[in-house]
């Protein structure tokens, strides 16, 4: 195996291929990056049985062949190479990387023990890269990080004929966003539960692409999903289990709401939060023309702030964990947010609040993003 490749192309390809590799792989061999030189170019790939990444790039291939080397080492080297052509060659027992006056020689890992990188077949649809990446950013923040509850560590993708909906929850909040979905001829509904971590990586690396092809495997032994652009593919095993029917939690409608400026609410929340212990809640009082924030810390520290708000309906007091609110209002990506209040059947428990974006103080807007948040019990 022997090829000459542009320095930036090389470092982008290696870093993409190894990004999804786990920090501590279960088997050492899975920490490798597979490099295959073909007449059409060079393919960099990695696979840890959960997820895989694969990219195909242009290079001047002198001799075809395949090697497996340490992914971490290779990406560290690739990132630091000088701006010169890179020559990669299989020397028999080692792989040499030459760039300008820099020379590296890496041990080859045993290819015969390396698993075959999967290909995913099944139902395919297409989304626009920028919208999909934005949706992932808005939704994946709400996914649980607790491995004890594996189902909700994923983002649920629900495809219908023209929309793809992303849903995530950690039981404190639910975040939902829909994007346009071109399902081609297959228009019946299909769902996939994708690990949030993998999906966030997809959002980061595929955001600049015009179109992303998504392939969801049909029901079978190994449930997988693949995200592909012209030269890159990420696959992931799906999370097993039934996703909780969280869309039911959203209220049909609520006239009782307040509209506030997003940046003002975020900034005020961050300031008032300063006196609070982690996990403690801020008390929000919405009344005619304003919202008042109040916090009492453990060291008798106090903070309060008043911001403008347009309230529709009765005054209301809610106790909310600041970070959960900030996540939701920032994810609206709108200048204003509309916070709708609901009432629960249980009189002791406040109803969840619904957050949506709005372009101005007065104009309601049909956005495709919504965020449902459960306030805490009021203690005072």
């Amino acid at each position: 195996m022997k090829f000459v490749i542009n320095r930036d192309v090389f470092s982008d390809a290696v870093s993409f291929a190894v990004k999804l590799l786990p920090q501590r792989p279960t088997m050492p061999i899975l920490s490798g990056v597979r490099i295959e030189a073909t007449p059409d170019g060079v393919v960099f790939s990695s696979f840890d049985f959960e997820s895989s990444a694969r990219t195909s790039v242009q290079a001047d291939v002198g001799a075809e062949g395949v090697v497996l080397v340490s992914g971490k080492m290779m990406s560290d080297i690739a990132a630091k190479l000088p701006q010169r052509e890179v020559r990669v060659e299989d020397d028999g027992t080692k792989v040499s990387i030459r760039c300008g006056n820099a020379n590296f020689s890496l041990a080859k890992m045993p290819l015969e023990e390396y698993p075959t990188v999967p290909t995913v077949e099944g139902r395919t649809g297409v989304v626009e890269g920028k919208a999909f990446a934005e949706a992932i950013g808005q939704v994946a923040i709400a996914a649980s990080r607790e491995d004890v509850t594996p189902v909700i560590t994923g983002v649920q993708l629900e495809a219908s004929d023209t929309t793809l909906t992303l849903i995530a929850t950690d039981r404190y909040r639910v975040s939902v966003r829909s994007v346009q979905w071109d399902a081609g001829e297959h228009t019946d509904a299909v769902t996939s539960l994708v690990p949030a971590r993998t999906l966030m990586e997809v959002g980061r690396t595929f955001g600049g692409s015009e179109r992303i092809e998504i392939t969801m495997s049909e029901a079978g032994e190994r449930q997988q999903i693949a995200f592909s652009t012209a030269d890159r593919t990420v696959t992931s095993l799906l999370i097993k289990g039934n996703y909780p029917p969280v869309r039911r939690l959203f209220p049909e409608s609520s006239e009782h709401h307040a509209v506030v400026n997003t940046a003002e609410l975020v900034d005020a929340t961050r300031r008032v939060q300063l006196v609070l212990d982690a996990e403690a809640a801020i008390r929000y009082t919405f009344s005619e023309g304003q919202a008042q924030l109040e916090a009492i810390g453990s060291e008798q520290a106090q903070a309060s702030e008043i911001i403008d708000a347009v309230l529709e309906g009765d005054d209301i007091v809610l106790s909310i964990k600041p970070q959960l609110l900030i996540d939701g209002i920032q994810a609206t990506h709108s200048e204003f947010v509309r916070v709708s209040f609901t009432h629960s059947e249980n009189t002791n428990k406040p109803g969840p609040m619904l957050i949506r974006g709005q372009t101005s103080r007065d104009d309601a807007e049909a956005t495709d993003f919504k965020y449902l948040l459960q306030p805490n019990l009021l203690l005072r």
Partner: protein
């Protein structure tokens, strides 16, 4: 021993037991809320468990080599003047008949864990001082388990029954006096020092009995004519401070009058609620193990709810027939007081262990305890269980524990003794 006369004894506490001081059940134990539990000649006694034919003989633990030092010695050997850290050669000159046994630190560590486990089951306030001693706070147990006069003998009996070791116990209102009392109670004794007897107890003792006074400090005190604790007590704190420095002077004056404000060091996050059960015979049947876990977790959940707290970590302890012990824990997404969650977590921890050798003991513990709080969840899968359990708690309170139990517990007919502090169900 008649306590009244015992106090007049003014001699030096020698660890050979010749100057032993113990109290009986008639001593007022209301102020003695701290126990100091100390295993007698721990290494030597532990080594003798496997060599009962050597009981009553002078035994020295260490390596049989002239360059070695004594690790521990039985009371019989101590009578010849042998003590730990003494060169082996000298020990053998003092006591030529001594039998030398190699130390077995794995055994010591295992026995120590067992004894500490018994203490943990007795009180939530346990401060370990080393491999063979610990403070146990019992102030909060008076209504449940009685005072030092009841808890002390029970502990000593349990330690002896379950490990074969002998523990001596000192009980007092302060850590310092409790520790001194246990050393006077040795071997195989218990001494309760009520607050009003502290000064009588302390003053005749040599200054070396003061906490923190080693040989060097003892020599400095002697230069000022201070030989007994009474000598120190009757020197003004100002004078002590001018001789030995501000901090040391105040420390000496306080200890000489039995003042020791140190509480049992037991951090908030260490608080936990646990129950253990030792089977009458080793159990291999998974269903029986699960049944026992259900029973233990039911007790733990009830105690959490009664205390108005929730725990975030569930730990399963499994001890095998050969005393090998493993623990596995899991941290939950939210703190809970729901028995069902504790049961299912402990079951799943058991499941993850796979095939097991015969099981001698099972334990379920809930830790990372915090005040019960609203977690602000949109939905809670455990809510139904939680309210059913609260209803069950209320029935138990009115009609007794046997009225409503999980169906799978009905089959368990044997009357059992639990090893948790709050006893049975």
């Amino acid at each position: 021993m008649d306590v009244g006369t015992a106090w007049d004894d003014g001699g030096v506490s020698k660890q050979d037991g010749s100057n032993r001081l113990v109290s009986g059940p008639e001593v007022d134990d209301t102020t003695a809320t701290i126990l100091h539990v100390d295993l007698d000649a721990f290494f030597a006694s532990a080594s003798l468990l496997a060599r009962p034919e050597l009981l009553g003989r002078p035994v020295v633990i260490g390596h049989d080599s002239s360059r070695s030092v004594v690790t521990a010695a039985t009371y019989e050997a101590r009578k010849y003047g042998v003590h730990s850290a003494m060169p082996m050669a000298r020990a053998l000159r003092l006591c030529p008949n001594a039998i030398i046994l190699d130390p077995d630190f794995a055994l010591y560590s295992r026995l120590s864990q067992q004894v500490m486990g018994i203490l943990d089951e007795t009180s939530p306030e346990v401060e370990r001082l080393g491999i063979d001693e610990a403070f146990v706070g019992i102030a909060g147990l008076r209504r449940l388990a009685g005072g030092a006069n009841r808890i002390g003998p029970t502990l000593r009996a349990r330690i002896h029954a379950e490990t074969g070791l002998v523990a001596s116990i000192g009980a007092a209102g302060t850590k310092y006096v409790a520790k001194l009392a246990s050393s006077r109670a040795k071997p195989d004794g218990m001494l309760v020092v009520p607050n009003e007897r502290v000064v009588d107890f302390l003053h005749p003792q040599p200054v070396s009995a003061l906490w923190g006074v080693g040989p060097a400090q003892q020599e400095r005190l002697a230069r000022y004519g201070l030989h007994t604790i009474a000598d120190v007590a009757h020197t003004s704190p100002e004078r002590l401070s001018s001789w030995f420095g501000e901090a040391t002077g105040r420390h000496l004056a306080d200890l000489a009058w039995g003042r020791d404000p140190r509480a049992i060091t037991e951090r908030e996050q260490d608080k936990s609620f646990g129950h253990n059960h030792t089977f009458f015979r080793d159990v291999t049947d998974r269903a029986e193990q699960q049944g026992e876990i259900l029973r233990l977790a039911t007790g733990v959940g009830r105690r959490l709810r009664d205390a108005g707290v929730q725990a975030r970590t569930v730990t399963l302890t499994v001890r095998f027939h050969d005393f090998r012990t493993i623990t596995r824990s899991r941290t939950l997404p939210e703190a809970t007081d729901v028995t069902r969650v504790i049961v299912e977590t402990a079951w799943s921890l058991l499941e993850q262990l796979g095939e097991l050798p015969p099981v001698r003991l099972l334990g379920v513990r809930a830790s990372s305890v915090q005040a019960a709080a609203d977690h602000g969840l949109l939905w809670d899968d455990t809510e139904t269980w939680g309210s059913a359990e609260r209803a069950m708690d209320a029935v138990h309170d009115r009609f007794g524990a046997a009225t409503v139990v999980p169906a799978s517990m009905l089959r368990r007919e044997r009357k059992r003794e639990d090893t948790g502090p709050s006893g049975g169900d």
